[in-house]
Symmetry: D2
Subunit: 401 residues, 4 copies
């Protein structure tokens, strides 16, 4: 089939799946069972060493940058497999936001920045975070930021408040979006600046309590402040005023990564749902799977997941072929379409499991809570729909806002 | 308007709302912020004392039983107000499962049972739990139970495993559903037995981890086992084999309580949603409330909540007038209809708040997690839909299963 | 029950239902079978005579104006019954747009206008139409009209094009919305003018082909033009520039009429659906009603219709009590809520009937086609949702467009 | 892109589109405008001659059988283009039910049958129909038929009643499903028999009134009876008792044809919707396309159609590669998934057009009416969902009914 993985990708996928099935279950159980992520770091580290030894480390990166060397479409299949467990991407060093940060550093970083910031992340010795979203400014209007970086001699002096700075807890550095050109055109006001987390004036206010959970380490989302936080001028990442543009570029492949991870979640949950229907009895000899309501949930999930996967793979293919800009409609479309599928599949699975679906004994409830955000982060459904419509209508000769 | 509260109910509602607005906010904040419910008991107790002093204690009970003395329709309005905060019902002693247990004890309890079990609960000095659902038998088939109670001399010897025994942690006694007549007709096999929680052989295995939270005390759901657990014969509650029938009776008013609580949740969340739309700016001077997608969420929520409230009140009125049996179609209908509205209103509110909607700073995420169960507990949507259809088709001359 | 009809209304409802069951079926069958409405006029006339004789004529009008003399809430119950068949309202002279036109003429008409235009319609000797919507201007922006009326001596000279002028075919007169004050404020530009249909310059261009049907007579929707069409100055209906305001007033009770008619449609269709499920066999002895998917359709329909009826009746009660202006949120809410219920009930019924549901042998397909417009006419869903949101947000201190 | 048409297919698609754009519009307008299909036959014939001359005749057939010689995946792209207008498939001789009948005759027909029945249809000189569905037996249980064929000497004597015998009006022959082996196993009772329409005892009772339209000729659905209808024994098509099996085989490619036709409908309607949004003004200078509700409709349609097309093409590819049996889950999945997309896209388009969307001036309303059946014919959604679930659960070790 055209969208089966290439032989090379199929091999990576198979080995990834096998290794994951071996190392992930106890870690997943511990995480779902409430063990703080931070306490899992030793065991996670041991598993990550096995991934490296197996040559599966950094599946998203070119071989030249210490990765497996797959195309975007090829990696998409790997991302799906990793998505089957909440610890998958971390185990293979494919976790957000490091993947995006590495991408930006690889493209825009100076040699010194690459050496100091990129390389430890690629080797898995450090983590990073990305400080863009602000509590007092809507994420849906990324060109309106309150955080500023003022040039003072050889330094940038940063002031502002960010939140949903994912994985800030334990990160070695943050890439910060701050307004450096307040008089510039809206899309050209912000720049990216690298801030080592030990810098005075940088502070984590709190790890946000997200859906009942104040996480730790990688599995956390922080509120951070910059109060007269000074970094050297050379910490500017990319050109002045290019922050928004670079952030946009970052989204293309990242979108594919997110969507394929969600497909992986869906497939795992589909599996759990089918298993339940095939084994749970309502009365002796009376299988749950005989009930049409639940048959409907299963069949609808199958169709939606299959269609969604093809839609994402096709978009990835298009990016590989002609770049993300030409695929803007598709990149918007897959975002809300797949997030919607994910939402419904999780909802149905809970209904199939009943009370057991509410429990953290299975990953369903975990994803139900945490991936509710899938329809929000990286652009809310509503933002993407409006944007896709605008792009389409441009093709019909109309400029609409 | 016909479904405005009666003058008496309006007075109780107003005083309830005023007192609640005074005492609930710090308790709610603490609960949402992760303080274990158990640690809140002193402050909750102080607030409960104020409720008693205000004459608003036990709003669901007749005056003769130490309550406010409202009709079901009248209490429904109070239940809505209490539903506006997760701590509302507990503060006024109207919390499940005590309300249902009290109802059963009042109707079927011996004088000794009333004295020992019912009265402390009514006074707010003790709490209780109801052990019916089992992990190994589907809740949707309540006549298939694994827990047995065998008569041995003057005692019942109970063996079995239950879960979702809500509020078992800290309860003084459990009302247990156990098969006492294994040879009886399916609906006449189980009986209700009162088991003081100190009884040897009764044990809480764990508080269940529900959507990221292992609760405590009242705010918990336990897995419990009965291992050769012996209680005196007189702990039988109601006739032998009547357990299922009594459990069914318990559902009528309880359904109204649940549904009106959900309406209260919806109204609170609607309020939060409207407030956000009316104040949040997307850009200076550009209100979030100007966006049609979000206007749609608000308007649809308004219509659905208003229709749902009338539907529940009308059903309550019918129960007051002709009893729950004659209102069986409506009692099934409101269950899935209102649970569906609740589900959608919460979902929309999260989308309106974006990232902030994921946080426990507001009660939206709390309800989103915990009230996902509204479509499951007290009969899953699917069960009610099938049942309502069967009742309707009986009226058209067809017996369907 | 509070929303049961009053004794007086119950009596009218019962007699209406009985008479309707007697006279409507052959007329409905003929209409569904494709007989042009015009060809049915003799038989319809005979049935209308029986309605008059029974004292059930004009159930929407006060006794003083030749009607039955019910309150809006009381009439709402009658409107539901009439809605059970496509010929119901016409048989009892309660058909749109005559009902609205009569209302406007009664309130704003001069004595001469009442004598000449209103009275024949009330007696059922003439019909009328209302020419507001225009093909080249969106109905969702009613203050932007292309049709003008210029004062020339003692005459108005009207020019413009209208469509969806329902029932123009066979009407004695049209009430036309035309701009008379082009320099006025947007909401004060248009006036209402009565145009007898024989007036030179008034012409029906075509009866619109709506969902496969070019209707006739009352059951039609015309495109009409006014080309230098002259009527005497005294044909102005109400003050100059008051057209939009009067049109708005017309909507309140009319909204209740529409919504209760839809409830009537829903109940009839529900009946057909339940009957099918209770009698159709999938195999000998295997009733269609055993299938959960279809049980779900039935149960969901029951809940939605019951909730919707209460919502409409409550709104009608509010209009009776405090006027339509104070009920603006509810009037918007019921419009899209009930239209949505209607849409889903019809859709489910077709699915229950399968191929037979596509046929004009039953009224389901007829309503499916024609009442698709329920989500459009009298304000599209989208317009009402935005409007309801704006009204709500005003209560939260925000002015949004 | 992998699912772009092959060069050969791209060429056929381009030429098909060009020719269609030239010849279809006046025919489509006439059909939508109410001209009976029969009256269009001369003009249709002229256009069909041009199709033949262009070498685009029978795009679904192998070159050896007088067709264009495309694979199933290749033809799928052509079917999409033809689906853009209600007259598309007929113009290219790719219309149901002839396509399916030809397929069966090609595989199971005797030489005599091929000569007499298949060849004229392939040449476009005759049409055929397929008489399977019965009014008194549900289509969802195809093994329960009331029509019988009794062997009497050298003849079959057929008795029974069929409906939704599409295109019977004007057909040269019918392929009839009739029980010939009443004692056989359920799936082996029926056989296929060819009945020339002139045969005594065969009679069209009526063309069914479908959604307001009693069609004619190809664009019709008949109720037919067989009353002691005698045909020679050699009119048996395929083995005795193989009727059900052959009918099933017929469904695989036919499913792809249907689904791609629906995608074509969706794309045409999407085009109309986008055009409207890009050009219609709500007020001078205020484009309809600025409204978020409608932007949402457009964006959701884009995503759903794109995902649906890939899902169908992938299924077609799988059939080409491993046959329809191995693709049974996908064949069920695309049926309800694409029919659902079609349903929603049509619904949204009507809402975008408002009143104009109700009119037969555009094909939207035509498809809205006629393609409501897409969720019913060829297996209702509910049947396919249950079936897909059963197939999936078999893979999980459970046999459910």
């Amino acid at each position: 089939m055209p969208y089966d993985p290439s032989p090379r990708a199929a091999d990576v996928v198979a080995r990834t799946r096998a290794l994951l099935d071996e190392v992930a279950p106890p870690l997943e159980r511990a995480l779902l069972g409430g063990t703080p992520f931070r306490d899992l770091l030793p065991d996670l580290g041991a598993a990550r060493a096995r991934v490296k030894a197996a040559g599966l480390w950094n599946p998203h990166l070119p071989a030249a940058h210490g990765g497996v060397g797959l195309s975007l479409v090829e990696y998409a299949h790997v991302a799906e497999v990793l998505g089957r467990t909440p610890v998958g991407h971390f185990l293979f060093n494919g976790q957000a936001p490091d993947v995006g940060n590495v991408e930006v550093l690889a493209k825009y970083g100076s040699d010194a920045q690459k050496h100091r910031f990129l390389e430890p992340v690629v080797r898995g010795e450090a983590r990073s975070c990305f400080a863009m979203t602000e509590p007092d400014h809507p994420g849906s209007n990324p060109v309106w930021l309150g955080t500023t970086a003022r040039r003072d001699g050889d330094e940038w002096v940063i002031d502002g408040r960010k939140w949903f700075t994912s994985s800030a807890d334990g990160a070695a550095f943050a890439i910060v979006m701050a307004v450096t050109e307040p008089e510039g055109r809206p899309h050209e006001r912000a720049s990216m600046i690298v801030v080592p987390t030990g810098t005075p004036g940088y502070r984590i206010v709190r790890n946000l309590p997200v859906m009942g959970e104040v996480g730790t380490d990688w599995a956390s989302h922080a509120e951070v402040v910059f109060e007269g936080c000074r970094v050297p001028a050379e910490n500017l990442l990319g050109p002045r005023g290019a922050g928004f543009r670079i952030a946009q570029e970052r989204l293309g492949p990242g979108r594919i990564h997110h969507c394929m991870r969600w497909i992986g979640v869906c497939e795992r949950v589909f599996d759990l749902m089918a298993h339940r229907l095939a084994t749970r009895e309502l009365a002796p000899g009376d299988l749950l799977g005989t009930r049409q309501f639940l048959q409907g949930y299963l069949a609808e999930s199958r169709a939606e997941i299959s269609a969604a996967r093809l839609y994402v793979l096709d978009t990835a293919y298009k990016i590989d072929a002609v770049g993300p800009k030409a695929a803007a409609v598709e990149l918007g479309g897959i975002k809300f379409f797949v997030a919607g599928v994910l939402d419904r599949v999780l909802d149905r699975a809970i209904q199939v499991y009943g009370g057991a679906g509410m429990l953290d004994d299975l990953p369903i409830a975990w994803w139900y809570r945490h991936e509710r955000a899938a329809r929000i982060y990286d652009g809310a459904d509503e933002v993407h729909k409006a944007n896709v419509a605008r792009l389409i209508l441009k093709g019909y000769g109309a400029e609409v806002r």
